[in-house]
């Protein structure tokens, strides 16, 4: 059972409202005037008010209201509904129950309805779903929630204490990403990830001549008979690799429309980081997360599926904030182990990020740049000068991308996870290619 974030139970008898005061005052004034002056028409004016007063008091005396407000699950994933309910039990009819739910940025209300008014029949138990949906990753506020109950011809009210604000953790959604591409370098000796290192494994790598030390069960007798010399089946080993995910949070461009809507560059980066982290942790690889935003922030080396929750919680703090230490490319480059594959999630708007990627490539590090700039987040062109500026900006950007590609760093947009898979394959193929060695 999930822990309850907030719950309150409240039972009360109705208390008079201004409507009751008005009914009583009008009745008394008109009746006194009518009786004092001997005017039956004035007493007739008071009659509906007096009847309403009598009925209201009679109804309110029999009413007892219990309201229970419950919000469960302090942690939800983007796009899921929050279990928030208001349960009302009453012995008498309730004319109106007005529920006012306030939510912070990142949460949305179903159909955009913040307030709703319902009526409850006596003896019924009504459960009102508050209709809160987690729209965007982050720490979001739920509440305060006001409940206003009126009964007996609106003449009595039941005061339900307001629920104070609670903080809710909305984890980023993880896209389906399943890549069989092998990472260029294996780091640890064992794992479930197919490495490019040949040895004992399952995946077929090729046929090669027998050398001393090869196991006899690896000899391919059919090929050996055809070639006249002993040939063995070569295979890729299963090992674990290390992945460093660089998140560029220095800028957040584009409109954040929540899950299913438009994504800003930071949304794309966080969701991509969560997706990639989930994939590699599932494969047994180690993952390091580094936030190179306005300031530098990084997380310890993660291994195993359990660390995914740690990664998600860390990713929630990725925002445009002046926290952490100021960074320079060399400092960040030092955080990446030499044989780790680096995934840089960046909109390519910060020159420091481009320098960092170039520095990593100079070290021979396999780097894939995932372009998180949303397609609609390009400079507007209102007049001829802005059109010119936009053209220059786009040319400069294309040049940056071309230089990165030329340096052996694939640049893929984060539109589908398939693009990232292709880029990883490119990296592994590039790692297999012969290279010149300095002598």
């Amino acid at each position: 059972m999930s822990p309850r974030l907030a719950a309150s139970s409240y039972g009360s008898r109705p208390a008079p409202t201004a409507v009751l005061v008005r009914l009583s005052t009008v009745s008394v004034v008109l009746l006194v005037a009518g009786l004092g002056l001997g005017r039956p028409d004035v007493v007739a004016l008071a009659a509906p008010f007096t009847v309403a007063l009598f009925l209201a008091v009679r109804r309110a005396r029999s009413a007892r209201v219990e309201a229970e407000l419950e919000i469960s699950r302090a942690e939800v994933v983007e796009g899921t509904a929050l279990d928030g309910t208001l349960t009302i039990r009453t012995t008498g009819d309730l004319d109106a129950v007005v529920v006012d739910v306030q939510v912070g940025i990142g949460l949305a209300l179903r159909d955009g309805v913040r307030r709703r008014a319902i009526a409850v029949r006596g003896g019924e138990e009504v459960v009102v779903n508050l209709g809160i949906v987690a729209a965007r990753w982050g720490h979001s506020a739920v509440g305060p929630i006001h409940v206003n109950i009126v009964t007996a011809g609106l003449a009595f009210a039941v005061a339900v204490p307001d629920r104070p604000t609670h903080w809710l953790t909305v984890l980023p959604s993880v896209e389906r990403f399943r890549s069989d591409a092998s990472l260029p370098y294996a780091v640890t000796a064992a794992g479930s990830h197919r490495s490019l290192v040949r040895g004992d494994g399952v995946d077929f790598a090729g046929i090669r001549p027998f050398v001393f030390g090869d196991r006899l069960r690896r000899v391919n007798w059919r090929v050996s008979q055809r070639t006249g010399s002993l040939q063995v089946v070569d295979s890729f080993t299963e090992r674990a690799s290390e992945v460093v995910v660089l998140i560029d949070s220095a800028q957040d461009v584009g409109v954040s429309g929540g899950v299913g809507g438009t994504a800003s560059s930071l949304d794309a980066a966080v969701r991509a980081a969560a997706t990639v982290t989930a994939h590699h942790l599932r494969r047994g690889d180690a993952v390091r997360l580094v936030d190179v935003g306005t300031r530098l922030r990084f997380l310890r080396r993660l291994t195993g599926r359990r660390d995914f929750v740690v990664a998600c919680n860390w990713l929630l703090d990725t925002r445009l904030a002046e926290v952490g230490e100021a960074w320079v490319p060399d400092r960040v480059a030092a955080l990446a182990p030499p044989r780790a594959t680096v995934l840089a999630l960046t909109p390519l708007l910060d020159e420091r990020m481009t320098t960092l990627v170039a520095r990593l490539r100079q070290r021979g590090q396999p780097v894939v740049v995932v372009d998180t700039l949303p397609p609609d987040a390009v400079p507007r062109q209102l007049d001829v000068y802005e059109a010119l500026a936009r053209r220059m900006w786009m040319m400069e950007r294309e040049r940056t991308v071309a230089l990165l590609v030329e340096s052996g760093c694939p640049v893929v947009p984060w539109t589908t996870t398939g693009a990232l898979d292709r880029a990883l394959r490119e990296l592994s193929v590039a790692a297999l290619a012969p290279r010149a060695a300095a002598r």
Binding site: S9, L31, A33, V43, A47, L55, R114, A117, G153
Partner: protein, 207 residues
């Protein structure tokens, strides 16, 4: 470049989406109905607008209070309007009778119409007070409200009609009996409800 304050703008957009023109049209309809009832009550109080400056003054005063009631439902404006209508009704009918300009006794339908209009002004004010401007309103709230209004209005008009129509009402025992019982209820019920009850436990949250 698009704004970097995407989440903020998104929140504002979500709030704007929450404002439905249909809901506002409904509330506007309620306000128009409320105003219409107050105009009807004023018309019934003042009789017909003629050259009499007192009537124009009454209409003007009630109109000002009515505008306040429309602008701020749930305030004391509705109480002032209803009591004011009763006061002006008494004053105008007494004045016309005393100066002999119009020896009129209000028609029973006029009295009952005024009683109904004043009660509906009161009931609509209560409804407009509890309904928030941008809420999703369940139809049962309105049907329940209509039923509550009818439950009070129909017997109330019946009793009022009896008082007005009976020829010996003002001199007979029915008037005094009904009036005394009504006054007893009007004073006694609120006292009964509002009396301090030290023997009752506090209705504090149970958890």
């Amino acid at each position: 470049m698009s704004s970097t304050r995407g989440p903020v703008l998104d929140g504002i957009r979500a709030r704007l989406r929450a404002y439905s023109s249909r809901r506002y049209a409904f509330l506007l309809g309620l306000a128009v109905l409320h105003l219409g009832l107050m105009v009807a009550a004023g018309w019934l109080v003042a009789g017909q607008i003629g050259a009499n400056p007192i009537r124009v003054l009454v209409i003007g005063l009630l109109g000002a209070v009515a505008a306040f009631v429309i602008a701020s439902p749930g305030s004391a404006g509705a109480l002032v309007f209803i009591v004011g209508c009763g006061f002006f009704y008494l004053m105008l009918t007494a004045l016309e009778t005393s100066i002999g300009a119009d020896d009129r006794m209000p028609h029973p339908f006029q009295v009952l119409g005024l009683a109904a209009a004043l009660f509906l002004v009161h009931a609509l004010d209560g409804l407009r007070e509890i309904l928030p401007p941008n809420a999703s309103i369940d139809p049962t709230v309105l049907t329940r409200w209509l039923r509550r209004v009818a439950e009070a209005l129909v017997p109330g008009l019946g009793i009022g009609g009896l008082l007005v129509v009976l020829p010996t009402a003002s001199g007979g025992g029915t008037f005094w009996l009904v009036g005394a019982v009504a006054l007893l209820l009007a004073v006694g019920l609120p006292v009964l409800v509002l009396r301090p009850r030290p023997w009752a436990g506090p209705d504090d949250p149970t958890s």
